[in-house]
């Protein structure tokens, strides 16, 4: 098995796991503070702003964040 196949299998198995039903009452862990998409949206937007002012790819993928750099 090549490493490429391994990676593909790994990703595929993750998606297979997704198909198994997780009942609503089994999702307590997913609703915990540490599982929030961002621990702090304000921290995340500050980091993103700094990356996008220093990197070519920084702005890509963050649609709707708005313009202006405050940098040069």
């Amino acid at each position: 098995m090549t490493s490429k196949q391994l990676i593909i299998c790994g990703i595929a198995s993750l998606f297979l796991a997704a198909c198994s039903e997780v009942q609503p009452w089994q999702r307590g862990n997913l609703a915990k503070d540490v599982m929030a998409p961002e621990i702090s949206p304000a921290q995340a937007s500050l980091r993103q702003h700094n990356y996008s002012s220093r990197e070519a790819a920084g702005a890509g993928g963050s649609a709707a964040s708005g313009g202006g750099c405050g940098c040069n």
Partner: protein, 916 residues
Amino acid sequence: MRMKHCKLLTTGLPKLKALAAACRQALTERARAPHPPKPAATSKPAASGKKKAAFRALYLSALALPGMTALADDGDDDVGLQVNHYEESKRTIYGLTTSGATNNHISTSNNQASQVSNGFTPITVEGQHAWGNFHYDDRTRLGFNFVQDLWSGATPQLIAPAVTGLQFTSTERYSSTHSGATPAYDQAGSGYFVNSHDQLFYEKQNQINQITGQTMTKLAPATQMTEVLSYASPEIRSQGDAHFGYDWDRASLDIGGGVSNEHDYLSSFGNVGGRFYFNQKQTTLNYGVSYTNSRTHALEFDRVSFADIPSNQVEKTQNSGTYINANREDWALNLGLSQVTGKNGLLSAGFSYTNSNGFLANPYKAVLDLVIGPETLAGYRAISPNSMILQEKRPNLRNQFTWNASYQHYIEPLDGAAKLNYNFFHDDWGINAHTFELEYRQNLGAGWMLTPRARYYSQTAATFFGPYFLDLNTSPYSNNAYSSDQRLAAYGTLSGGAVLSRDFAKGLRLELGYEYYSHRSDLTLGGGGSGDYMDFNYYVANATLRADLTKLAQVGGVVMDGMFDGEGMRPMDHAAHMARMQHGGAIPAAIMFGEMMPKGEYMLGYRFLQQNWGNGYQIGQQGGLNAACTHAASKNAYMMCNTGMTMNMQMLNFMYAPTDWLNLMLMPQYMTMNMNMYNTPAMIGGAMGQGSGMRDWESNGGFGDTGAYAMLKLWDGGDQKLFTSQGFTAPTGAIRAWDQLDVDMAHLLPYDMQNGSGTWDWNPSLTYTGKYDAVSWGAQLQGTLRMQKENYMHWRQGDIFQATAWGGYQWNDWLTNTLRVNYTKQGSISDYSKGGNFILMQGGGMMKPFVMPDIFAQNYGGTFVDAGFGLTLSVPKGTFAGNRVSAEWLQPMYTNFNGYQLERIGTLAITWGYMF
């Protein structure tokens, strides 16, 4: 009803403690989906009422599962404030150094590229971000953000071989220093050669035979490049945006928009996004579309040729300098899918596309264009002196694609979660980039959480990036696109940091964040970085304070309506306390030290003050002088006049009442100042000449002086009270900001554009308030006395005395109006410095300027009377009960200036506070 399940939060049943988060989110969702279907089957029968509640909380929390998206957090109602400090390391710059020796009648001079000292302050940014998110009803929410960045420092303008002989001279600071890098653009190309492979060479060694007079030149490859820096004066970016959201049971929609404004860049944007939930909310689809329209209005750099920028991208206008005006548009689309992969895992993947068109270059970035001339030396072609520095040029179209995958997993034994993220970016400028991020969140107990993170990023260079460009033609440079902007080079970055947060009781959260970031050529994935001369590091530190309004309301005793069983902490009767606080009637917004709190209370307050000055001048009581401050009354031929000024002050107010008769206050403040200017005929006809590229505005800002006060109750007659405040401000505001008006010219900013007084100041006050039924009244005497003769810049602000009296009428349970009169007497500034405030010319030559009236100490202070019109809105019941917002406008009624000053327009004050 809505608060019922939060009983779990506060009663502290050990087994249910872990459900706190679930419960909190459940509440929000519960309200949004009023009649959720019952779970089809529960695995265990509900043994007791409490257990039943636990299952219910779990079930509800599942409904609340957020989608993995960059959309606004649609959780609780909250307000927050973040302040942050960004600072770059000093850039390493290289220059030519010469050594010489004489041996056997032959003198040899050796030129070598080596590191030279860089006296420039690196880029620093002081930023702040305030936000609020509120639910209008169960399904409708509204949010806003306000962001402000103040930045200054040395920024790379172009790249050049270290041996090009570009001179490095600086006008940094108000005293003369000679280091750093403002390039002298003349002779950009003398002394260089290229070989047949277009490699660049320079005259490394000259040997002169002193007997024969014969000169021998040795050439060496010019491989060492350097960044050429230019200094940027303090500039402010302000961004305001708002979004509106609506939630259905299985979908949500967000519509938002905003504006970001800088002096040279105005950007407006709008977006629509949302989510769809499938498969019992195990699968979330999110989408977003955004549009941004940005306008550049930038002052053309002296001695940089803009000749070659396509006229369909830029339009030039003349207004005390040549401005380039240009537009760009960005459309972005993103799609994402997130999937619950088990009871502990969440997987998501996304794609985004951005299309940008118009003027995509940076108006402050330039390139070195080396023109190959006809002359040759031993087979090497010489670089012509016609070489020049050009403004960079980029294609007017860019398509960007990003693919993203992330996985996050809850680690049960540790009560922590890990998040792994990968991004691949590709655009049609030739840039491919990879981003790897790893974050781990650990609950530490007692409300503490630690989140360390690491990130690696690597990109390839744009096809049109180069450190310099060789040109066979004379100008204009023939390529379609060329840039030396380091953000288009090949490099890698590695960064790491951590966020430490603590949840305090009653919904307050404090976060401290730090990140260190290293940009390095040798971190490029697979090697092939563009060059280590562009390496730099930065760090960002921030502090964030967030107040969860939903939690605040939950702990309020009134809404808990006796659900407590006596175990654990019983929350204070919040609404009753607010009622006691408001007993004294509303206080006008601009009044400080207007009311005291009862024992044991804390208060968090925010105060915004905006002072405005117009574009006409006034001397003494004589107003209506026109904007041209060369008016005879001014007694000076000023080179520039102010045409308006705005000062914004934002204050955070932490207040604590250890006893009924003593309150303690701490008040840090943040300021921003903006001033517009006008070049008078004295200036235009003088040394500068029109079109010399002088900016017509100045900005500054940052932390101001910090106040610490104690309030003492002197007499409490029930409806009437008398109290005093004693305190001081510490000189934490910087008073040495300077401004670079032009490549050659810098000056220390005037007194009114600095962030503080520079002295320790004493602030006593005496306040009387009274109330009868719906009518309230009050009066206050207040002083600001400078406790030092001078600050370290050798000047002192004048003392201030204020007397005010007001009356208020409460129309109903939510609205009160106030009317007041305010008298102010302020002394002029005393300046003991010998040189005063001066202009510095390039090369260290100084000149006492007749710049603007506000650089003269005698043009400060005066006697003023203002009328204040205020209103106070209180929320009497519901989730936000106890919140109060006051606003006041102070209209100038009488002004008698010391000296010659801009007319006063008025002051706006807004305050908000909540007690907990």
